[in-house]
């Protein structure tokens, strides 16, 4: 493959699976759909791809109210009406009131860019379907001005999803797909080291043990993920915590578990552990 292939960056570790998926998508000019648990670095991936391919990154964060149209262009009717009312601006020129959205911007860019459509599953179910044609043809028409915006260079499109909702088949068929599995301990260690190159060996071991212990607790609403561990190691290091106490006391637990109910579960678990330890000492 050409030398411009994606191999991860100095602060983003990409598995061979992921590298292959990215390179296939880039080369075939198909959107890359990345799915995985929250916190496994889906959004960071886009940044890493942009960095390593030397392209500009355009981010389109999707919310529950986002419509496909927003990404193409917005026609500011209200502004135009006001301008015509008060004789300001140039209401005769429709084009002045057309603003390109992120997708439009990516198409219009003179160079090849990376466009990330972040958390596509947050939006309405019809949202991906509404984008099919535009993503396929990489062009769209603006009826107000009679203009057609076409991609000069087909952007690298990365779509992330938390898999909360099913995506339509027609949409999937056009994508290259990759599922980011939760990293195994060895990979996890590597990732943490990238973020904290100077971390104390012992602190890292203990933090990892504590982290996997918390992650495996039953009934968690939001299982902690990579980003939580990275933050936790930071907090433990800055807080000057004695590595020997980490697994027993789980300090700064709020960095790892974000929901009150989850913290309660962990506290109960720790109480049980403490009782058990006390019983063993009595014996």
């Amino acid at each position: 493959m050409s030398s411009s292939a994606f191999r991860g960056t100095s602060d983003y570790i990409a598995s061979p699976d992921l590298q292959a998926a990215v390179n296939v998508a880039v080369s075939l000019e198909r959107p890359l759909l990345v799915r995985g648990e929250p916190g496994t670095g889906k959004t960071l991936l886009a940044e890493a791809v942009a960095e390593s391919l030397g392209m500009r990154l355009i981010t389109w964060p999707v919310k529950s109210t986002t419509r496909a149209q927003d990404g193409l262009y917005v026609y500011d009717t209200v502004q135009r009406l006001y301008d015509s009312q008060f004789g300001e601006g140039d209401p005769a020129d429709v084009a002045k009131y057309i603003r390109l959205g992120q997708l439009g911007e990516a198409f219009a860019a003179p160079e090849r860019v990376v466009l990330v459509i972040d958390e596509v599953d947050k939006a309405d179910l019809e949202f991906p379907n509404d984008l099919l044609w535009e993503l396929d043809r990489m062009s769209f028409h603006i009826p107000e001005t009679g203009e057609t915006v076409s991609a000069r260079q087909r952007p690298v499109v990365i779509i992330t999803s938390n898999a909360e909702k099913e995506l339509p088949d027609a949409f999937l068929r056009r994508c290259v797909f990759h599922y980011i599995a939760f990293p195994d301990p060895a990979q996890m260690e590597q990732i943490v080291r990238v973020h904290h190159p100077d971390v104390q060996e012992k602190l890292l071991r203990q933090a990892m043990e504590g982290f996997y212990l918390l992650r495996e607790l039953d009934g968690l609403q939001k299982r902690p993920s990579t980003s939580e561990l990275v933050d936790w190691v930071q907090a433990l290091a800055v807080g000057g915590i004695d590595p020997d106490t980490i697994v027993d006391e789980l300090p700064f637990m709020g960095v790892v578990l974000k929901k009150q109910a989850d913290l309660d579960i962990a506290r109960r678990h720790m109480a049980i552990r403490a009782r058990r330890a006390a019983m063993q000492q009595d014996r």
């Binding site: 296939v24 088949d169 599922y179 039953d218």
Partner: protein
């Protein structure tokens, strides 16, 4: 090329369409797999599989097509497995050797490699370890394990260098399968009835109402007055609770249809699905397998869900009276419920402003059926409707009444 893989994938239930197959060939033409089998594995998976639940099926199909891996037991027979399992040698190679082998990576074509493996399987008569030609361990031949050969085929053993196409045989995506998908795709009637759940009662007014704007502007002698209206969005959220215990088996088809109709009714703002066995107690299950590891605390669930969720319970409500009325009466004998089931049902009903129970038994049987006693208790707690098109329609109407 590789049509066999296509068929194998379809056989494994991986929904591969022609579009994707053409995409794969486009990728092949551009040599995106770098002429290696492992490259081909990753590339074809990225292009052909669109759901992590199908990774496992893909692995099986891939392994079967490029036989020699586990599922193709007849190609790699016990004889070969024995060579590989007994006396495994581990290879220690120098950096220099490794570099030379890496250079060889591209020299061997995929088809050639498979051809060669086939040949070896036919001819090799005894075990070989530490060599560079035959199937064995700790060597630099492309076949076997614990050795080093870029782009080779690992058979058994543990992946050490992660260069060979070892992953297919490992089936590490097994846990992500969702075979037990409940659902057919054609219960259009229920779907249509459920559409009545749509509402435009709440939500912010964000859409410009052109007609009203014109009217109001005219009313104000041409001075611009903007009028907005609520976009047509649905605000209905649903919690669906399904009884999947033994006595519900006979209704499985009916349940399937309801379930898929609910899922296809994509207009809900949110749809939560939980499962239970006969009655709800302090834990509900997130999967129909009713596995305790896939369960959650009922109180937590209630705390998470706003009372404006519409609760739809589905069950036959026929059980032993103790299951409803006595602490510890839950049907799963290892399960100790401290409060009787009826109390949990009341708690559920009280939490949500709208709740209904759908019973797969026809209404005319309710008085006389085996289990009529508990059915009548459940009916005193939940408004009950029969699970038929008409019953569903009534339930939906009931759920939409303002309270």
């Amino acid at each position: 090329m590789f049509e066999g893989l296509f068929t194998a994938l379809r056989d494994e239930g991986v929904p591969v369409a022609l579009d994707e197959w053409l995409m794969l060939h486009e990728a092949l033409e551009r040599d995106l797999h770098e002429s290696t089998l492992s490259g081909f594995y990753l590339m074809s998976r990225a292009v052909l599989v669109k759901d992590e639940a199908h990774y496992d099926g893909f692995d099986i199909a891939f392994a079967r097509y490029f036989s020699g891996l586990e599922p193709a037991g007849d190609a790699v027979d016990d004889r070969v497995w024995k060579w590989l399992e007994e006396n495994p040698h581990f290879l220690h190679i120098s950096e220099d050797q490794r570099r030379r082998l890496d250079e060889m990576r591209d020299q061997l074509e995929l088809d050639e490699l498979l051809e060669k493996l086939k040949e070896k399987l036919e001819k090799q008569e005894e075990e070989h370890h530490g060599g560079s030609e035959h199937i064995g361990t700790g060597g630099t031949s492309p076949f076997g394990h614990s050795g080093y050969h870029p782009g080779g085929i690992r058979i058994g053993g543990q992946g050490r260098w992660k260069t060979a196409i070892q992953t297919a045989g490992e089936r590490r995506w097994r846990d992500l399968r969702t075979d037990h998908e409940i659902g057919t795709r054609d219960f259009g009637v229920a779907l249509r009835r459920l559409r009545q759940l749509s509402t435009r009662l709440d939500g912010p007014a964000t859409e410009l109402d052109v007609d009203d704007t014109i009217r109001q502007t005219a009313d104000h002698a041409g001075q611009l007055r903007l009028a907005f209206r609520r976009p047509r969005r649905n605000s209905v959220r649903v919690l669906l609770m399904l009884d999947v215990g033994g006595s519900m088996d006979e209704h499985i088809l009916l349940l399937d249809r309801l379930f898929s109709a609910m899922h296809q009714a994509s207009h809900f703002r949110d749809l939560q699905v939980r499962f239970f066995h006969n009655c709800v107690y302090d834990r509900v299950y997130t999967e129909p397998s009713l596995h305790p590891r896939r369960s959650e605390n009922t109180l937590h669930l209630l705390a998470q869900l706003d009372p404006d969720y519409k609760l739809v319970m589905v069950g036959d409500a026929c059980m032993a009276p103790t299951e409803l009325l006595v602490p510890g009466g839950a049907i799963d004998y290892q399960y100790m419920n401290e409060e009787p089931g009826a109390q949990w049902l009341e708690r559920l009903e009280e939490h949500f402003s709208h709740a209904a129970w759908l019973n797969p038994h026809p209404k005319r049987w309710w008085e006389t059926i085996h289990g009529a006693y508990t059915l009548s208790i459940v009916r005193s707690i939940f408004p009950m409707f029969e699970l038929s098109v008409d019953g569903l329609d009534q339930a939906v109407r009931y759920l939409m009444v303002r309270r």
